[in-house]
Structure formats: C-alpha cells, structure tokens
C-alpha cells in the first residue's frame, strides 16, 4: 500500500501547478483575444509558452511516486496514474495547439486565442476527470470536457457540416450524460456516498440479488457515459458525423485526448476499486459480468468500425470509423482486468497518440492542398511529395499494426493480455478484424502510390510542418523497435494499485 497524504484545500494548490498555469493561461488568452494583436507568431509563441510551461511543470512532479496525495478534501488523487494522465493530456494538448495554429478555421488570432483558451480549460477538465476519486468531481469535470468539446466541434459556425456536427454532438452527449447521471444517482443512493472509497467498499460488501441487478444497471449506465467518450459501441453513433464535420485539428484532438479521457477515467474507477478492496472488486465485476460486456462491446465496436470504414471515401469519416475500431481494440485490453491488460491499454493509447496525430496531420495538410478531404485528394500523392506520403504510409501501416512500427507493439500487448486471460475467441476475432482493417488503410496507400495523380502542382510545406511530421514519425518508428522505457513508465503508473 502506498502512503496516503491528505492535503487541505489551500495547500492543495501547491500540487496543482500545471493546472493552475493552464487556468491562468486561459484567462490570459481570453483577454488577449479581445486585444488587437495581429501577429500570429506572437500568438503561437504565447500559447506554446503556456502549454509547455504546464507540461514541464507536470514533469517535475514525477519524482514522488511512493505517495498518494489527496487534494481538495479528498476529491482528487495525485498518484502515478494521474501523473501519467496529466503528462499524456498536456502533451497531446501541446501538439494540438500547434495543430490549431496551422488550421484555417483558427487563422485569425482572435479565434486562435479563444480556441486555445478553450483547449487549456478542456485539458484541465481532462486531468481532473482522470485524477478525480469522487463521482461528483468526475461528473463535473466530464461536463467541463464535454461542453468545451461541443464548442470546439462547432467552431465553424458558417459551415453547415460543422454546425450539424456540433448539434449532433450536443444531443448525443446530453443523452449520454443523462443516462450516466441516472446511473450515478442510483449508485449514490445505494452506497450513500459518491466517493470512490465508499463506493468501492460498498461494492465489496454483502450484496443481495436485487442490489446486484441494480448495480448491473448502474454499470451499464456508467459505461454509456464513459463509452460516449471512448467512442465504443453502443455510443459510437455520433463519431462519424462529428469527426467529419469538425475542423481536422479538433477531430485529431477528440480522437486522441477525448478518447483517452474516457478510457483513463474508466480505468481510474476500476483501478481504484481494486486498489481499495483488492480481489473483492474483481469478484464484484465478475458478478455483474463486466468482463463479458466489455469483450462484447469491444468486439462489436471493432467490427462496426472496420466494416463501415471499408466503403468510406471521406478521409475524416474513414479515420472516424478506424478510431472506433481502435477503441474496440483498447476495450478488449480493459476487459482483461489484469495488470498486463491495463498496461496494454495505456501503451496502446500512447502509441495511438503519435500515429493518429500523424495521420490526421497529413490529412489536414492534404485538405489544405486540395481543398477537400475526400480520399481522392491523396491520388498520386506519392509522386508529388514522396517524403510526406512515405510518412503517411508509415502512420497507416502502424495503424494496421505491422511491425516494425509501433502499432504492432500496441496490438501485440493487447493480444498477449487477452491470451493470458484465456480470451482466445476474442483474440481470434481481434486478429480477423486486423485483417479487415488492412483493406481500407491499404486503400489510402494505394491512392497515394499506385494511382497517378492528375494535378501537376507540387505542394511544398513549411519547415515547421515537416519538423512536426518528423517529430511524430520518430516515436512511431522507434517505439516499435524499443519500447521498454515507455512500458516501464506505464508499469510504474499502474503498479501502485497492485503493491
């Protein structure tokens, strides 16, 4: 067991530095958006400064891995797991700010400041959501994330697709939130408290048959709420439209951070229960058949994602379906309920961050070149810009899960976790899905290299764009060959539960 330290409300702020930086930064950015600063260079410099300060501040807090600190009257927990989440989200937001900077939608400095202000608050929301140990706090920060996501998605008010996407997102989100809140209130009514500790000890106690049934229902409701963020079946319906309608930069952010938020908050709940009551939590999850539900949902998500992606011609829609399939894959990792399984999910998320951002970034560049996000825009790309198209091919091959790229390692560990839990059928179906996915990823590669392009123009990208792609490409390749340091860090961030 780790040492637990409770910190008072005021003293908590000392452990809340990265978030405070982001909050202060967001206020600064909102003020700046009212001024008449026109220089985009200054704008990106200020934004990058804020996000990178927060990022480095979060790195400094890494050394106290033997204690678990409860902040704000036991609402948030600072432990290796939340450290992981913090660094993950801050890193992803850092990449996203750059992405926003390149986006046409946010080309005016005013809009850019506003959007990055939203992004910084959203990041705080994500971090709080994952570090929270009280359902009240979880719910509030989840709402914070959701509402700001709606704003980001609908940030092109004049574009019909974007508005439609925003509206759809809000409607689906509201329903999911409502269902989740209903489940939470049931849980609160039974456990008498919304704190994870009380909930966990309640789950570990003697439960009657009716209580089990009610809890099963609760779990489903919770899964609807979390699954909405994870983009898994049955709450995946909003994904294609929203991903297609949102600006590409926002889509990339949603597909990485928002999804990771869903997974991490769910893992946080599961891990916390195991942490508090050990095997009794596992027994409870077995009683409500959570394993089977997760495996089932995971497999269906994969199947829906992969099969629907087969006939997509719009790149963003295709990537949306592919992200559903990847979420299904990660859910299989969660369903293992073992240390290996959870580790594989975190590993998957981290590696997915690089390859997915990379793929979306190149789609984004290509959308700017050709003015549409149809797959046709990639026709003959290999002739026009060989390095960019090779990078895209590497990101896509990595998404397929081909060695020696990092996506292979992600899949490898998920399969290993499944086999360790003797979920052989799930492993086999996962393997079949991997093969289905080959078709549509290779289709993009086919359009890039096998078809001759018809537009003679030769897109040249700025040095910064190229550096950004290389920056994402290096981890995609290197982590596929040597992933031990990353895995060790992930093990540390989960290990404390099992100590």
């Amino acid at each position: 067991m780790m040492d637990q330290i409770h910190v008072g409300n005021i003293a908590s702020f000392a452990f809340f530095v990265p978030e405070l930086i982001l909050l202060a930064g967001s206020i600064l950015l909102l003020i700046l958006s009212l001024t008449k600063i026109q220089s985009r260079r200054w704008a990106i410099a200020i934004v990058l400064f804020i996000f990178s300060t927060a990022f480095f501040a979060s790195l400094f807090s890494l050394d106290r891995s033997t204690t678990e600190i409860r902040l704000f009257s036991n609402l948030l927990s600072l432990d290796p797991f939340s450290d992981f989440a913090r660094i993950f989200f801050l890193f992803s937001s850092l990449l996203t700010t750059f992405f926003f900077y390149q986006s046409k939608t946010f080309s005016s400095t005013k809009k850019f400041f506003e959007t990055t202000a939203f992004l910084s608050i959203l990041t705080v929301g994500l971090i709080c959501m994952v570090s929270s140990v009280d359902f009240l706090m979880t719910f509030l920060s989840m709402e914070m994330v959701s509402i700001l996501s709606y704003l980001l998605v609908a940030s092109r008010p004049k574009d019909a697709f974007s508005s439609e996407a925003g509206l759809k997102y809000i409607l689906f989100g509201a329903v999911a939130t409502g269902i989740m809140l209903f489940g939470l209130s049931l849980l609160f009514g039974m456990a008498g408290s919304s704190h994870f500790t009380d909930v966990a000890s309640f789950l570990a106690g003697e439960l009657g048959a009716y209580q089990i049934m009610a809890l099963f229902f609760c779990m489903i409701c919770l899964l609807v709420g979390f699954g909405f963020k994870m983009t898994i079946f049955p709450t995946q319906m909003w994904v294609p439209d929203v991903y297609q309608g949102a600006p590409t930069s926002v889509t990339a952010f949603l597909s990485v951070s928002s999804k990771a938020g869903g997974f991490l908050v769910f893992l946080r709940f599961l891990l916390f229960c195991m942490h508090e009551v050990g095997n009794q939590a596992l027994m409870f999850f077995e009683q409500v058949r959570l394993h089977e539900i997760l495996v089932f949902f995971g497999l269906i998500s994969m199947l829906i994602g992969n099969v629907s992606a087969l006939r997509q011609r719009n790149m963003k829609r295709l990537m949306a379906y592919s992200s559903i399939a990847h979420a299904g894959f990660m859910l299989l990792g969660v369903s293992c309920f073992t240390q290996d399984g959870f580790e594989s999910v975190l590993l998957y998320l981290t590696l997915y961050l690089f390859m997915n951002f990379g793929a979306f970034y190149i789609i984004h560049l290509r959308t700017i070149d050709t003015g549409n996000d149809h797959m046709d825009s990639f026709r003959g790309y290999g002739n026009q810009n060989i390095w960019m198209s090779i990078s895209m091919a590497i990101f896509l091959l990595s998404l397929i899960g081909l060695p020696p790229f990092s996506g292979f390692i992600a899949k490898f560990y998920i399969f290993k976790g499944l086999i360790a839990q003797e979920y052989y059928t799930a492993a086999l179906l996962g393997a079949v899905n991997t093969v289905i996915a080959v078709y549509y990823y290779m289709k993009i590669i086919k359009w890039m290299f096998l078809k001759d392009g018809n537009d003679p123009e030769y897109p040249r990208y700025s040095k910064v764009s190229r550096m950004f792609v290389i920056f994402l490409l290096i981890p995609t390749v290197v982590l596929g060959l040597y992933w031990v340091p990353l895995l060790r860090w992930i093990q540390i961030s989960i290990n404390f539960v099992y100590l």
Partner: protein
C-alpha cells in the same frame, strides 16, 4: 566480425539510402549501382558460406544481443546449412532479377530502393534466429512487395497487390497468434531461439494447456500451418498466387516464384517442424494428401491455362506439392528432396518467368493460342525455353530431376517412425506412385506449351520480333548452368542441410 550478419543483412538498406542520393535521371547509374551491390552482396555471401564450420553443421556467425528482457526477446542472427542454402538461392535469384530490371523505366529509383528493402527482409527471415525477429523480418518483406506488384505490375496490378497483401496478412496474423501463444506459455527463461528449439519442444509437448479443448501443440500447429501454407501456397490457400505472379513485373515474378514461396517452406521447416514436430508427424498423412492435391490440382489447372505466365504460376503450385510431400514423408531422403526442390524450383521457376517476360516484352502477348512459331525468329530464347521446360519436367541430369527423385524415393520407402500406424507404409507408397504419375501430366502440359509457344509454323506477325539480348541470355545461361551443374553434382548442396534434416528426424523420434 562480431556483427557481420547484421552488416550483411542491412547492407541493402544502406545501398537503398545510397540509391536515394543518386539523381533520378541517372537511370544507368542507378541500375549499375543496384546490380553491383547485389553482386557484391552475393560474393560476400559466398565468403560467409565458405567457412569450414558449415560442414560441422553448427550455427555459425552467431550474434546475440538482449533486446526486450521481460519477454526474453533477443536480437540474434545466425546461419546454418539450411539458411545458408536459402541465402545462396536468394542471392542468385536476386542478382538475376536485378539484372532483368534494366527495362524498368517508371519510377526506376523507387523500384530499386524497394528491391533493396525486400532483400533485407528476405535475408532477415533466413538469418534471424529469434522467433520475434523472424516475425518482424517476415512482415518487413511483405511491405515492399505490395508496392513492387502494385506500381510496376500489369493491367490488374492493384487488385493483385491488395489480394497478395491481404492473403499474406491473414497468414501473418495467425503467425502472430502462434508467436504470442508460445511467448506467453513459455515457462523456460530462455529466448525462443532456433538453437533452443529442442527445449521448447519439450515443454510444448508436456504442456497441459488447451484452447477450446484443443491441446496447445495442436493449436500451435494450426497457427503455424495456416501462416506458412498461405505463403507456400498449399491447396485451399493458393488463390493469391496466380494473380500476384501474373500481374507482377518479370523480375518480381522471378523473386516471387524463386524466393517468396520458399520463405513459406522455410517457415514450415524452421518454425512448424521446429516447435511442434510430433504434431506434424501425426498429421503427416493429411499433409501428404494436401501435397498430392497441390501436385495434381496445380498440374491440371496449368494444363487448362490460356496464359503462359499463369501456366507457369500453376506449375509452381504443382511443384511446391513435391516440397510438401517430401516434408510429410519424413524420411532422410524425402526431406532432403524437399529442401532440394526448394532450390531447384527456385532456379527453374525464375528461369521460366524470365522467358515468359522476355516473350511478353517482344510480342506483347502471353496468350498461348496467339503465340507460336517463335522458334524461327528467336532461336536463342527457344533453346533456353526448351531447356527450362525440360528442367521443369524433371529430365535426368538436370536439377529438377534430382529433387523430385529424392522426394519420390524417400516417400516410397516411407518413414520408419515409431508413431507410424499400420498400413502407413502402403499409404506413402501408393501416394508416391500417384505423385510419380503426376510427373507425366507435368510433362504433357509443359511439352504442349513448348509446342504452342515456340514451335509450329513461323508466323508472319513475329517476323520482326528480335531475339533475347545479351543480358537476358547471360542470366538464362547462368541459371541453366547452375541447373545442369547441380543436376550432375548435387552432392555439394545435398550435404548443406544435412544437419538440419538429421535434427528433424531426431525430433520426430526416427533417429538417424
């Protein structure tokens, strides 16, 4: 010298970078650099192979480094007689293929870079000693081939490329599942190294795990079998081959038929026989029947083809049947024949595809009914064609005969394993008799093809067709000389895989 195999395997990657630096309009230089580097690579291989250790039958040039400790994955490379033999075949076929690539004009630089990457992948498969590393190289060889077929192929190249990729991917996924199963259940704290195989066999056989009530060794057998059977290809999994081989450009067809099919066989021997020899022995009759189906089905399909290249593709399927029969018979002779068939078919199929490609380049037709009477205008090519066809039929004195004779003789004598059931001797004898008859079908369709392509009345439309040039003649002659040489003196090659074969027999309990 410690990392000599690493340098050897990654030398083509280095050359790929070098090629990348050459300006694309210097097409002759790109071709020369690629050709010289593959020739240099071949000579380097000769040096590596010509060590006295190869006779001792041990692993040599071994290098091993820890890689992922928690899973006991190591980066280990090594060469033994079998892999040396495969590497020699690879280098010969590759040099011929690169030499034949002088007509490639479309995106020539990218073509040679991809060829170099493919070479690294193939050598990696043959020379890696660690299972995980083997898998990575196995996949690595797949990616360049997709592009090589898809960009430089024929009319239906995109379809053929994606079909090839997806089929192979199915195999890879099964290989991956098998790999994870072995890694997960491995109780020994030892890497899954080819040198440690006997120890791994012991625990796999003794393991009490079962999946869907099927014992672990059987599951592993299925995973490995499907993975490699797709590549070989064995009967129900063969449908990618005619498309890929026909659509690929000539040099790539040569590589596909000459090397890629052998990667599948190599995997069957190294991994399938390596990890679960006893299961393989128990299903040997089934394997034998599959081999027979390959043989007969391939031959009949070949007979009914209207396209010369497709005919050769089906004859490849048919000839790979001998490899499987040789493997399934499990006697020293037949195993040797199986390995020899890999080499001989590699050379002969490469030569046949070369000839078909040369014909197509000059006549723009591969339809058998269209061709005919080429002998008048293309005497050199006709001689080479006649030679290749006879080699393919298995004319005594040529390499094809040696391997097929060994397989048939070996399977006729049958294996004397303690596991063999009563009557199995008759089974293998009858089977090999059927296989022998199939040789006749082979002779029929090959000779018929010869007649339809080269002979018959000289046609007016081919009057202006030129004979093969010196380069093609040189490559054909080298392949022909090798086929004759090893047909007459096979003993040089025969002793190379000897240790591996004795090991396999030892593993299945037959003993030497």
């Amino acid at each position: 010298m410690e990392h000599i195999l690493t340098y050897f395997i990654f030398f083509p990657v280095f050359m790929a970078f070098l090629l990348g630096a050459v300006p694309p309009q210097k097409t002759r230089w790109i071709y020369r650099i690629a050709l010289l580097s593959t020739i240099f690579h071949m000579l380097w291989l000769f040096l590596l192979v010509s060590t006295p250790e190869i006779r001792a039958g041990q692993w040599f040039w071994v290098e091993s480094m820890p890689w992922i400790d928690s899973l006991y994955i190591t980066y280990s490379l090594g060469m033994d007689g079998l892999s040396a033999l495969m590497c020699l075949l690879t280098s010969v076929v590759f040099v011929s293929a690169v030499m034949m690539s002088h007509k490639i004009q479309k995106r020539q630089k990218a073509y040679f870079i991809l060829l170099m990457l493919l070479l690294t992948g193939i050598y990696g498969v043959f020379l890696s000693m660690d299972f995980f590393l083997f898998y990575i190289f196995w996949e690595l060889a797949l990616i360049p081939l997709y592009f090589l077929i898809g960009i430089w192929g024929g009319q239906r190249r995109e379809y053929a490329a994606i079909k090839f990729f997806i089929y192979t991917m199915v195999g890879s996924v099964f290989l991956l599942l098998g790999l994870i199963l072995v890694y997960y259940f491995n109780p020994l704290e030892l890497p899954l190294d080819w040198a440690n195989l006997p120890m791994h066999q012991t625990w796999i056989l003794a393991s009490v795990y079962s999946i869907w009530d099927i014992p672990l060794p059987v599951i592993l057998f299925f995973c490995f079998f499907i993975a490699f059977a797709i590549k070989v290809p064995i009967f129900p999994f063969h449908t990618w081959l005619p498309d890929a081989h026909v659509q690929a450009p000539t040099p790539i067809s040569m590589i596909l038929a000459g090397i890629l099919l052998k990667i599948g066989m190599y995997g069957l021997f190294r991994v399938m026989v390596g990890f679960v020899p006893v299961v393989v022995l128990n299903v040997a009759p089934t394997l034998f029947i599959l081999g027979l189906i390959n043989l007969i089905y391939g031959a009949f399909c070949a007979m009914y083809q209207k396209d010369f290249k497709k005919l050769i593709a089906y004859s490849s399927i048919s000839h790979m049947g001998f490899c499987i029969i040789g493997l399934a018979s499990f006697s020293a002779l037949s195993l040797q024949g199986s390995v020899m068939q890999m080499v001989s078919h590699g050379l002969i199929a490469a030569m046949l595809f070369l000839i078909a490609g040369s014909i197509y380049e000059r006549t723009y037709s591969l339809t058998l009914s269209d061709l005919g009477g080429l002998a008048a205008t293309m005497p050199k090519l006709t001689w080479m064609g006649v030679f290749a066809v006879f080699a393919s039929i298995g004319l005594p004195g040529l390499f094809g005969f040696v391997s097929e004779f060994l397989v048939l003789a070996g399977s006729f004598m049958g294996h004397t394993s303690p596991h063999a059931y009563v009557g199995s001797v008759y089974f293998f004898q009858i089977g090999s008799a059927i296989a022998l008859v199939t040789l006749l079908i082979g002779a029929v369709y090959m000779l018929w093809t010869l007649q339809r392509v080269f002979f018959g009345p000289a046609e007016q439309k081919w009057a202006l067709v030129q004979d093969i040039n010196n380069k093609e003649f040189l490559v054909c002659s080298v392949l022909a000389i090798l086929i004759v040489w090893f047909g007459v003196f096979p003993s040089v090659l025969l002793e190379m895989p000897q240790t591996s074969i004795l090991q396999w027999l030892d593993w299945i309990g037959v003993g030497s």
